[in-house]
Symmetry: C2
Subunit: 109 residues, 2 copies
DNA sequence: TGCTACTACATAGACTGTCTATGCCATAAA
DNA sequence: TTTATGGCATAGACAGTCTATGTAGTAGCA
């Protein structure tokens, strides 16, 4: 309620997918990419993004390396690990399953 | 993560829709209806269901009346209020918007 | 009568995950 | 040298779901 975007539990999926599409990326880029691809509907706050990335680092779904951006700022570049790819696949199929089930509950008939 | 079903923030929608489809219903019936309609994918735990119904009572989205089931057990029968119907519509359209946006992020291309 | 199973409602407490707010630091621009 | 901006990060609040537990009434059965 009050919830405006991004259902809890789906952020990881968005991040993993974004990294799966293009790697490596740093945090800001990931957030921007999600926002753009979603047609400006989904906005990932930094206070959600970084904790999520930390969790994924710990779980070994992503690896991070410090580097420099085009504009010479330090940034942490993330890329998917093999475990991350598996996780991504699993989350995608779970997403489809759950959303499909919700559709059945919601649809007219 | 760990999350198995029902993304937080979507339970209200499921309950509202179920009540919108058939009223009045008591808690157990609502849970059963959601489970059945979802093809046994979504399972609403009692510890989630009753707090959700309480919240909705407070917010005036549903009204509850005590009654007796076919089997002579006391049960609280819920029905949508006008405010509940508006809320339902709003949640459905928000759901479509967010899920549509997620699809754009997730889809192949 | 006593036991068990089931229906139905309900709450406490843990836990997860997101958000708001804030801070730090470095670079670039004014 | 001040300001804006990019980028990372954490603390604290908060919402919402789950697990576990409890109550109580009904039905069935021995």
């Amino acid at each position: 309620m009050g919830r405006d975007e991004i259902y809890p539990g789906t952020l990881d999926l968005l991040i993993l997918k974004t990294l799966g599409r293009e790697s490596p990326m740093h945090g800001f880029e990931i957030a921007r990419a999600i926002q753009q691809r979603s047609g400006d509907v989904l906005q990932v706050e930094e206070g959600s993004l970084y904790p999520a990335l930390q969790r994924m680092l710990v779980k070994g779904w992503v690896k991070g390396e410090w580097g420099l951006t085009d504009e010479n700022r330090r940034a942490r570049y993330y890329r998917l690990t093999a475990a991350g790819k598996r996780q991504l696949e699993s989350e995608v199929s779970q997403f489809e399953r759950v959303i499909g089930a919700m559709r059945k509950v919601i649809e007219k008939a």
